[in-house]
Structures are given as structure tokens and as C-alpha cells.
Symmetry: C2
Subunit: 238 residues, 2 copies
DNA sequence: TATACCATTTTGGGATACCAAGCCGGTATC
DNA sequence: GATACCGGCTTGGTATCCCAAAATGGTATA
């Protein structure tokens, strides 16, 4: 929330056929997910307007869409960047468990294991030289792509939306190398079970992975809550 | 899609503090769900504007929200009332199965059975004198309220949104008395299992109910497809 | 008759003007 | 000094205007 992107925006718009609304929506989403605007921070339509060099019409459209994604919320008459809500994170984990397990069971029941290799390659693309931001992205895309394999559009969207809501919290999470390694091992174990068409194992491993991730995430954020609030990030307790 | 509601709208607005946007959104949603505008029909912002006596700003906001509900869709540059899509109905059933079963398992694991009575009372409120429209609404609310019992906001919203998408198709479905009776019996059996805290039974019964409903629904619509299209309703095959 | 082409209209996207409600700061009063 | 009040300023909600692109329809030509 520091320098003006209007010029950059205008330039990038030249190259693509992207509408102002899509532009504002995408950039504002990136700012929120990238924590360039803090959870709980107030937003005014006029500030966004000036920041991105667009008028209020596309700004309002973007806000309405981001509201349905849970990234911004109405605050009385105005707008707020949604706070991190620990109770919500726990509920999302339950939701994820339901839809991701259903998706992976579907995938196991189909005979197509070739797409699993693509996902495994995604995991392989991360090594000790990979920036943390990339690990973060791949860790989310793993689950999204896994759900995509099921071929069910609704399960896919559910997982994608859930991961979007989790994104900022996962980024704030204090994770050590060991935790990342464990997560990757669990991801690989899930893929292995799918390759064997073993739905029960895959479901059990995925379920445990989601529950474990939730516990680590909520614990980490609850411990860091004071520090996060000091940085201006609203973190609502469970 | 025949007479002008602008005056009625203005009058109803007087009594409540509802904004134009909420007004347009609610009324347009009711028109779509009530099949007053047919699936597949083209919508123009200007027509909606004139119809509800609101300017384009709230109209556009309403369309954006209804788009995320899946009730309207972009059609190139314009808008369309979403067609009935049999493939989508089948995918929604899979999605419902995942989230509703998860919700009912959660509910069974809690010790509160008192709320079940409220839902049972809902079912009881329908008898041979009840208009079909009411059966239709209660049949949907049963599932929505059941998910609400879980206490998980995301499972609840998922079921509510899924039922919203199914609403028009269920309304078009040709259902005999016997089918309705069977559905109600299945609903009651599910509640009975929940009362006993028997999660496995509840899950199995609910799952079978959803799959059975889907089969009857898709079969009915596929058989009626020609007739429905003749009535101007776009029905996309599976 | 079929088709390519052009003028006109329609339509969604965006920008802007206006308004009422709420917020904030200052001031006067107790 | 605290507080109640008031006036201006900010802000979201709405209406309206403009524009480019797409649809439409009529016409001329092959």
C-alpha cells in the first residue's frame, strides 16, 4: 500500500485484451493475498480507484466478486480486507476434508493415472533453491490440481476457493524446513496411493494431511497472534 | 416476463430499508427461480433496468452476484439465464453427497438432537392440502437446514448454493405422489438415524437419497427434454 | 436467390455527477 | 475539562452520459 500502480496498470493493459474490471479484480486480489494490504484494513472505493487508475464502476465490480471469494467484507457502509479468522480456518479444514476426499475417491475410481505424473512433477520442481513463495504456491496448487483430476467442476471450485481463503493464513504461518518436508512426503504418499488405485489409503492419507495441516496452521497463528496484530494484521481468535 | 413491476417495486421499497441493489437481486432471482424468465433466455441490462425501475448500477451488481450463484451466465458480451444442464445436475449430486454426508456426520457426533425436531416439524407441515410449491420449498429446506445443524458455515453454504442451482430443475421435474411420499419417508429415516446418533446409517441413507433423487431428476428431465425445449426452456444434455 | 457489404441501432463497459448518510473535528456551553 | 452540538467533509449508492464493439437489417451485386 505504498506506490502508485496506475501507470504500470495502464501499460500492462495495453498488451492484453483484459477489461478494467478484470484488471482491478486481479490486481486487488494479488495485493490482498500478497498481504500488501493487511487483513482487517479498511478499503475505500476511491482509494482503489486512484490506486489502479480505474473508475468506480470496475472497482465496484471487483469488490463484489472479491466479496464472494471472502477476501473483502462489508464493514457497515464500507469495505474491509477480511481479517484472518481462526475459527473460519478450522471450519474450512472440515469442508476441505469433505470435498477433497470425495474428489480423490472419484479420481481413484477412474482408470487414468497419467495425470498424477504431472502433479508429481509439480512437487519435484521445488528444491532447496526454490523461493519460499514458490513452495507456497505449489503447496496450494497440489490440492487444487488433485481436485481437478476428479473431473467434477464443483469439487474443483470448492477446493480452489477454500485454498484461496487459506492462502494468506498459510503465508503467515511460521513453517520450518521439516514441516515443509513432511508436507511434501505426505503429498507424495497420497499420489502413490492414487496410482495404485487404492481409494481407501488415499482418502485416509489425505484426510490426515488436511487435519495435520490445520492443526499446525492454527497453532502457529495462535502463537504468533500478538506479533501479527502488532504488524497491523487483524487475526480473529477461534 | 410480461407486466411492469417498477411501481410495485417502488412501493415495496418504501416499507423497508432495502437498497435498490438488494431489491433487484432478490426480485430477479425470484423471477429466474420461478421460471418467469426461461432458462437460456437472453437478458439485457437495459431490460432489467426498465423492468424494476432501477438504474444500471444496481442492475449490474445484481447480475454479478447472480452469476456467482450460477443463475445467470455471461453470453459473449451479454447475459443469459443459465440453461438447465443435465451434466451439471449430475456433478452437483456428487458434490452434495460429499458435503451433506460430511455435515450429517458432524451433526451425529454432537449430542444435540433437539434441533432435529424442528426439521421433522417442517416435514409434518406438508399434507395433501399443501400446494405443490410448498412441498418443493420444504423439500429443499430440509437439506439446507440439515446442513445448518452441523454448525459448519462452509458446509451449510455449499448445500444452500447447490440446492439453489437445483431448484429450477426440481421444479420442472415431473413427480408423482408416490415419489414425493418416498422422498418424505427417506427424509424421516435420515432424521431417525440422526436421533439415534447413528452416523453410519444416517450417512448411508442420505447418500442413497441423494443418488436416487438425482436419478429420478435426470431421467425425468431427459424424458421431458423435448417438451421443455418447446416451452422455450434451454435444457442441455448430459 | 444468395451473399457480401454498409449504415444504424443496440448493448455492455467505463466515467462522472449528484445525493444522502455517516464520520470527524471544532466550538460553545456547562 | 468534559460534553453536547453543529457544520463540513468523506464515502458508498445511484443515476446518467459517453463510447466502442457487436448485432441488425436493408441493399446492391454477382
Amino acid at each position: 500500500m505504498n506506490f502508485n500502480l496506475a501507470a504500470v496498470n495502464a501499460a500492462s493493459q495495453k498488451g492484453s485484451a483484459m477489461s478494467q474490471m478484470q484488471n482491478v479484480e486481479r490486481q486487488l486480489r494479488e495485493m490482498i493475498l500478497g498481504l500488501e494490504v493487511g487483513p482487517g484494513e479498511k478499503l475505500t472505493e476511491r482509494w482503489i480507484e486512484g490506486r489502479f487508475g480505474a473508475s468506480r464502476t470496475p472497482v465496484r465490480a471487483a469488490l463484489l466478486r472479491l466479496e464472494t471469494e471472502g477476501l473483502v467484507a462489508r464493514d457497515g457502509r464500507g469495505w474491509t480486507v477480511s481479517p484472518i479468522n481462526l475459527a473460519e480456518l478450522e471450519q474450512i479444514a472440515v469442508y476441505r476434508e469433505a470435498v477433497e476426499v470425495a474428489a480423490v475417491r472419484l479420481t481413484c475410481s477412474s482408470a487414468d493415472t497419467s495425470a498424477v505424473d504431472v502433479i508429481e512433477a509439480m512437487l519435484d520442481s521445488c528444491d532447496e533453491n526454490t523461493p519460499r513463495e514458490e513452495w507456497h504456491r505449489v503447496g496450494m496448487d497440489f490440492h487444487i490440481e488433485l481436485a481437478h483430476l476428479s473431473g467434477n467442476e464443483f469439487l474443483f471450485r470448492a477446493v480452489r476457493d477454500a485454498m484461496t481463503r487459506l492462502s494468506r493464513a498459510r503465508w503467515l504461518e511460521v513453517r520450518d524446513e521439516a514441516a515443509l518436508g513432511r508436507a511434501w512426503a505426505e503429498h507424495r504418499a497420497i499420489l502413490a496411493a492414487i496410482r495404485l488405485g487404492n481409494a481407501e489409503d488415499a482418502a485416509r492419507l489425505l484426510s490426515a494431511h488436511i487435519v495435520g495441516s490445520r492443526d499446525r496452521l492454527v497453532t502457529s497463528l495462535a502463537n504468533d497472534r500478538r506479533g501479527l496484530r502488532a504488524r497491523g494484521f487483524a487475526v480473529v481468535a477461534a
